[in-house]
């Protein structure tokens, strides 16, 4: 693998934007038949490097050679023609078209301008079966399939354009464990066939599972290229963030804590919703962090949404501070001190065209009613206070939120809900897609606030994170709460066992 020539070589790449240097002197090599992980925190320059490579941005300085000859793609289309294909986190296909069309659209087999559907369906079936081990009905619309399958179809499309280099940009963010396995099997197979794969992800486990080599970027600079086997995890992380990791100790709190365990802030009694989550009991007390662990699709979000009234329950009841809450809606939940921070930051969380200040104020203003406007002076005070408290960067309340990084957007949303001073804050995947530094800050914040008496329902796909922050963990499997684990039994082994079942 290492002895042959690299298929792709980027040398001394510089890219400047007005006011910022996004990449300075970055080098990157990719060999045929390897999976190469590109690592770095948000803002390290991963996306910029990929965009430079795929022709979205032009290169200021430096050279790219592909298969020995110098290339400079000026658009994603040109890059594709050269043999560099990209599959993005959000599947960029048309959900309304059939699977076969999604593989071939724009390059359909034709005779005299007439599309040959039969041939197209046959070719698509073959391609998916032989190269991706995917045996599906290609005449159904893409939207009938799961995200994982859609991602594989996107890869099939890329391969069909005789790809030499395949870039997978955060392909696993919305896949569950089984689906990730499926994707990895395909990646291993393609690797054996000699394809060069550039893999970007936030999940360390996955990096070590699939990658042969790792290139680390930090602040737009090249840190180094290492064989994955020779780079211990801790070293990888410390190289990524450039300092020794401040590893958060898992909280262990004695019974003497200030938490009031008599009347729960919120208690579900046989609460359930058909097709979403089986009836369950779950109580959350003041000052307590209850984690929901389970695989994607196990019903974590569905359970959380019932607490907030985002979905209507059809079984059981919900008690808030001891009183039964009938037909709760997000609005009445807010009134009763429950806030919900959704997992879809982009679609359900931030309002892209508003400033940081406006985004922070939103929920507070809504609870006060729209006719009692918060004065501009007060708004500025609040915004600055929370920007300082949560360390939001850049610390400018008038910046449009869309210009912030994912982690900082998440902090703004947190600020929004904290401002309403909820008794219970539901956090659904609060750290997804954000860098390690911001992740740690958010975890720390949850712990600090719970010590002051706020209750949390904490959902995350990262088990380590749930383990770290939770006082109690409810484990879900197949849309059912299968086990509740409390101190002193909280450890990875126990939780994994409950998730896996048996």
């Amino acid at each position: 693998m290492q002895d042959n020539e690299p298929i792709l070589q980027m040398t001394g790449i510089h890219k400047r934007f007005p006011g910022v240097t996004a990449l300075s002197g970055v080098s990157f090599r990719l060999f045929p038949g390897e999976v190469h992980a590109l690592m770095g925190e948000n803002g390290a320059g991963k996306s910029t490097l990929i965009k430079v490579l795929t022709g979205v941005y032009s290169i200021d300085e430096g050279t790219v050679t592909l298969g020995g000859s110098k290339v400079a793609a000026r658009s994603p289309l040109e890059a594709q023609a050269l043999g560099i294909s990209t599959v993005y986190q959000e599947v960029n296909l048309c959900p309304n078209l059939t699977v076969a069309e999604n593989v071939f659209v724009g390059r359909e087999p034709r005779r005299f301008g007439r599309i040959l559907w039969k041939e197209m369906n046959r070719k698509a079936t073959e391609l998916l079966r032989e190269r991706l081990h995917l045996d599906i009905d290609v005449t159904l619309p893409l939207q009938d399939y799961s995200v994982a399958v859609q991602q594989l179809v996107a890869i099939a499309r890329a391969l069909n354009i005789s790809s030499k280099v395949l870039i997978l940009d955060e392909p696993t963010s919305s896949l569950d464990r089984g689906e990730v396995e499926q994707l990895f099997r395909v990646m291993r197979k393609l690797k054996q066939e000699g394809l060069a794969i550039l893999f970007v992800t936030h999940f360390l486990d996955q990096v070590y599972e699939i990658s042969d080599r790792i290139t680390i970027l930090r602040n737009g600079e090249f840190v180094g290229e290492y064989p994955a086997a020779d780079l211990p995890r801790l070293e990888l992380v410390s190289r990524m963030i450039g300092k020794e990791v401040e590893l958060l100790e898992r909280r262990i709190r004695g019974e003497a804590s200030a938490a009031d365990r008599t009347i729960p802030v919120a208690a579900a009694k046989g609460l359930g919703r058909k097709g979403a989550i089986e009836p369950f009991d779950l109580a959350i007390h003041q000052g307590e962090v209850v984690g929901l662990a389970g695989l994607l699709g196990s019903g974590r979000t569905e359970a959380a949404r019932l607490f907030f009234g985002a979905d209507r329950s059809d079984q059981g009841r919900l008690e808030l501070s001891g009183a039964e809450a009938t037909s709760i809606s997000p609005r009445s939940a807010l009134d009763k001190g429950i806030a919900f921070c959704s997992e879809n930051r982009k679609t359900e969380g931030i309002i892209e065209d508003l400033t940081v200040r406006e985004n922070i104020i939103l929920a507070l203003q809504a609870t006060r009613g729209w006719f009692r406007a918060i004065s501009r002076k007060r708004q500025d005070e609040i915004a600055l206070e929370y920007i300082r408290l949560l360390n939001i960067n850049p610390p400018d309340p008038e910046q449009l939120i869309r210009n912030l990084s994912g982690g900082n957007q998440q902090k703004v949303i947190l600020a929004r809900w904290l401002l309403t001073q909820p008794k219970l804050l539901i956090l659904d995947e609060p750290t997804r897609g954000i860098d390690i530094g911001a992740k740690a800050e958010i975890q720390k914040l949850v712990m600090t606030l719970s010590e002051r008496g706020m209750a949390f329902l904490f959902i995350s796909s990262e088990l380590e994170e749930v383990l770290r922050v939770s006082d109690r963990i409810a484990v879900l499997r197949d849309r059912r709460i299968v086990k509740e684990i409390a101190e002193p039994d909280i450890n990875q082994q126990n939780v994994m066992q409950a998730i896996a079942g048996g």
Partner: protein, 322 residues
């Protein structure tokens, strides 16, 4: 298994058959092939317009200018033929070019300036309607022999039933559109753009060309509908085809096309137009009902279809493996 995506079209066809059967049971003389042909004769212009509109809506857009374009076509045709003595052989290609150019311009504005189709075509609607009155405030009656011949010629079908030349034109348009939608790259690109414009762009499809062509095609269809409408009315008038854009959209939606784009069938549109026609026919057979009942029934049907589509797409999401 039956593909779920055809369900709205099947419902439309079923509904048409049901209404036709109901009319046949209730009224003497309703059950005949000629009644169906009459539906086509009276609605040929609507059918042609709706075919163009189907492409626009599938691409995720809307075209409000079609009714005004029909009126403008009748007006320009009548004025040139009647008042200036131009030969129809020149006038008809000219108005078709005019309609296409008008559509092309709107498409270019929509795409390059990234303005919502609703507002651009609304402007186009006012503009075209207004231009009619620049030509004349009154009706211009046409007695040119070519137009009267086209209006009166009956094409005899085997079996003795007759259709007008306009119906033939409309059916040719439908068949051409079926081919265009399902067997050409242009057609599939329209569906792709309607499904996700961003994805279509990243998949390397020619977005600009396709979008502009869609509006050009709609402009062409509405001016062709205007020509057919001129045959039908034998006059040019600024108040012709008022509100036709909405009838057209209704026909397309009843035909199973999603207003959000990406899903729809020309065949569905064909039956959507026939359903509108059959409602009109039933009401005229009934005799005592005001013709406004047509609107009421169409309104109810629209509600029904929008709800049906909502339910179907909700089911679709559930069908996805969880």
């Amino acid at each position: 298994m039956l593909n779920r995506k055809y369900l709205p079209v099947i419902v439309t066809v079923g509904l048409f058959l049901l209404m036709f059967a109901a009319g046949s049971l209730r009224y003497d003389g309703f059950f005949s092939f000629q009644v169906i042909l009459n539906l086509l004769i009276d609605n040929a212009y609507l059918l042609i317009t709706a075919v163009g509109m189907t492409f626009v809506i599938v691409s995720g857009g809307i075209d409000l200018s079609v009714g005004s374009m029909i009126a403008l076509t009748t007006m320009v045709s009548a004025s040139l033929v009647q008042e200036h003595g131009w030969p129809p052989g020149v006038v008809i290609p000219l108005v078709l070019c005019m309609g296409s150019a008008f559509g092309w311009l709107m498409g270019a504005i929509i795409h390059y300036f990234k303005i919502q189709p609703f507002i651009v075509t609304l402007a186009g609607m006012f503009l075209a309607r207004g231009l009619c009155y620049v030509i004349s405030l009154n009706t211009i009656t046409i007695d040119n022999p070519f137009y009267t011949t086209m209006a009166q010629t009956k094409v005899r079908l085997p079996g003795g039933d007759t259709v007008s030349i306009s119906v033939i034109i409309a059916l040719v348009v439908v068949i051409a559109a079926l081919y265009l939608a399902h067997y050409t790259r242009f057609g599939r690109s329209v569906y792709a753009i309607g499904g996700s414009e961003q994805s279509a762009l990243l998949m390397g499809l020619p977005i600009a060309r396709t979008k502009i062509l869609v509006y050009t095609f709609s402009g062409f269809c509405s001016s062709l509908a205007g020509v057919v409408f001129t045959f039908y009315m034998l006059s040019g008038y600024g108040l012709h085809a008022v509100g036709t854009e909405l009838d057209t959209i209704a026909a397309v939606v009843i035909g199973g096309t999603l207003l959000t784009g990406g899903v729809g069938f020309v065949a569905g549109t064909f039956f959507g137009v026939l359903i509108q026609g059959v409602i009109q026919t039933i009401i005229s057979f009934e005799g005592t009902l005001s013709s406004w009942w047509t609107k009421i029934v169409i309104g109810l049907l629209l509600f029904l279809f929008i709800l049906l589509q909502r339910l179907l797409s909700a089911k679709g999401r559930q069908a996805v493996r969880t």
